[in-house]
Amino acid sequence: MATIELQAIAHRYDSGHGSAIGDAVIPFAVNALDQCWPDGGAYALLGPSGCGKTTLLNIISGLLHPTAGSVLFDGVDVTARSPEQRNIAQVFQFPVVYETLTVADNLAFPLRNRGLPTADIDSRVASVLTMLGLQKQANLKARDLTVDEKQKISLGRGLVRTDVKAILFDEPLTVIDPHLKWQLRTELKKIHQQFQHTMIYVTHDQTEALTFADRVIVMHEGSIVQVGTPQELFEKPQHTFVGRFIGSPGMNVIPCIVEGATAIVGEHRISLQASLGSDFDNSGLQNTELGIRPEYVRLCQEQGLPAVITAIEDVGKHVVVRVNVAGHELKVIQREGEPIPRNPRVWFEPGKMNLYQNAHLVEAAQ
């Protein structure tokens, strides 16, 4: 296991062959990243497709050589090393198995390649088979298995190596049925708790990222916009992108004007918990927005801003109510069975509002 450190990592893809297009035109897939991920943690790289998360993962695994910067494992620069020299394991989006080999031979494959003694290989393989619940399938050809079992083998080939520095996952549950996703994710979580491997998990699915990781790294257009615990990402998104991307439905973001400890939306005044102080630039030119989670908006009759209901979506465990407030659309989450008032007002839970300027969070002056 190892602490993984990224120093000023940047990468851009070649436009193909030749350099007909000038360097300046090709955008960076990943841009100037500095990160340090301590040993034994579970990390998730979360973001929409094209945000650079897979690029970053391949840079860590050594499948891709970054244009600039260096990768350090336990303080040792491994930028120039190949994946096998870095001693990492990686699970891909589509299960990769050696189809002509049996399940047990698949698991033994990385060990045999490294020339371990047969007795060691057998005991390691047996314990991983038990860990993954694949004992019964041990002597089946890998290609005869179902997709989720194949994906377990991909994972198993990483687990079987005792000295592996980190296990990397690239959207490993994409092709798995919803019911089995739960099962596999829970198993993964258990394995992490038990063995404390450093695990890095790439996904565009917030539930997967938030439930898997202790720390989630949210990426947007090649840059990291926030690193935090699931709770931090939910309560204090550093960027409106994070607010919108995490949570379903995502955070409501509405333009406002701030005067001291009051936010003004349309003609309505909302008092904030803390004054933003004199350093808050409110010249009106700066794009100021108020962010509030649908979970923290209440529909009530007495207090709050007048609203018009535009749509009600019952999704079983809760109801999403779309309302129009001063010309802006807001989403409200109502618990199952909670009544929906006819002419409601919306009330924002104090302390749950965030202010953004040019999409970045404004920390309240305490």
Binding site: H17, S61, L63, S82, P83, E84, I88, A89, Q90, F92, Q93, F94, V96, Y98, E99, T100, L101, F109, P110, N113, R114, K141, R143, D144, S154, R157
Partner: protein, 295 residues
């Protein structure tokens, strides 16, 4: 798509008729000849399996069969590994791909008899580049006199002509392998051989089967090239089954034995193709039962 539409049968009817006229009727004629004898005047006598017994016991046939089997075995043993090797060495992207593909396709475009003529001239000691070159190097090369030289010439010619077919088939299989397989193998620390053995070979197995079958059938039935180059000689050294058959049927006009021999020839090809097919697909049987269904 399994649309039930009877119109489809009408569409294939012309082909069926054509196949009927061009394949089944001649085949039945051959069967007819193989069980009869004739002394001219269009008079035929029923001889039963006599021709078949005669052919199967004739030394001439067995020698020709041995030669043909040896030839096919050598062709497969050279062309298949060589073809895979070249396919593995070919670039996967960039401008090199099209250059390689064109180069590979070139020999395939040349007709058989032209290939034969080219090599016949190429190998001649008096004017041929190869023959004369070897001669002036002091090597005793003469494909019309020396059995080994004759065989070597024909085999090299066939390898030159047909290896690219194996290459193209294997290459098509190789480029279809997703990049992640190679990435996973690198991470697992697999050697170059392990990558070939456990990723590339299983993935190209199906196209390789086609390559093996095509090359086997083609080499087993080879006629034009040895006919043009060596004419079956020196002596009977390169008289393969097909050449022998033509000599018997046309040269000696022994229609009965020739018909029996061509049927035996045909059955041997069928049998060997079946053997190859079963050997190469035996491990796939179990899979087809569980796979083949997506939803």
């Amino acid at each position: 798509m399994k649309t039930v539409n009877n119109k489809a049968w009408l569409m294939v009817l012309p082909v069926l008729l054509l196949v009927g006229l061009s394949a089944i009727i001649p085949l039945m004629t051959v069967v007819n000849y193989s069980v009869q004898d004739s002394f001219g005047n269009n008079e035929f006598f029923w001889v039963g399996t006599e021709w078949f017994q005669e052919i199967l016991h004739s030394e001439r046939f067995l020698n020709a069969l041995q030669r043909t089997l040896l030839f096919s075995a050598l062709i497969l043993a050279i062309e298949i590994p060589l073809g895979i090797g070249i396919a593995l060495a070919m670039p996967k992207r960039g401008i090199g791909v099209s250059i390689c593909l064109v180069l590979m396709a070139l020999p395939l475009l040349i007709p058989w008899n032209v290939v034969g003529t080219i090599w016949q001239v190429f190998g001649r000691i008096d004017i041929g580049l190869l023959g004369h070159g070897l001669e002036s190097l002091g090597l005793d090369y003469n494909y019309t006199q020396n059995t080994f030289d004759a065989w070597a010439t024909i085999i090299i010619m066939d390898v030159w002509h047909w290896t690219s077919l194996v290459v193209l088939l294997c290459y098509s299989g190789l480029v279809a392998i997703p990049e992640v397989y190679y990435q996973a193998a690198r991470i697992d620390g697999a050697s170059r051989w392990a990558v070939f053995r456990y990723i590339q070979l299983p993935k190209i197995k199906r196209v390789l089967l086609i390559a093996v079958l095509l090359r086997f059938m083609d080499s087993f039935m080879i006629y034009t090239e040895p006919f043009v180059v060596t004419g079956g000689g020196p002596g009977n050294a390169t008289t393969f089954l097909s050449i022998d058959l033509v000599q018997m049927a046309i040269g000696q006009f022994d229609l009965g034995p020739a018909a029996a021999m061509s049927l035996i020839y045909f059955l041997i090809i069928l049998l060997l193709c079946w053997v190859f097919y079963t050997l190469m697909t035996v491990s796939d049987q179990a899979v087809s039962a569980t796979k083949g269904r997506t939803n």
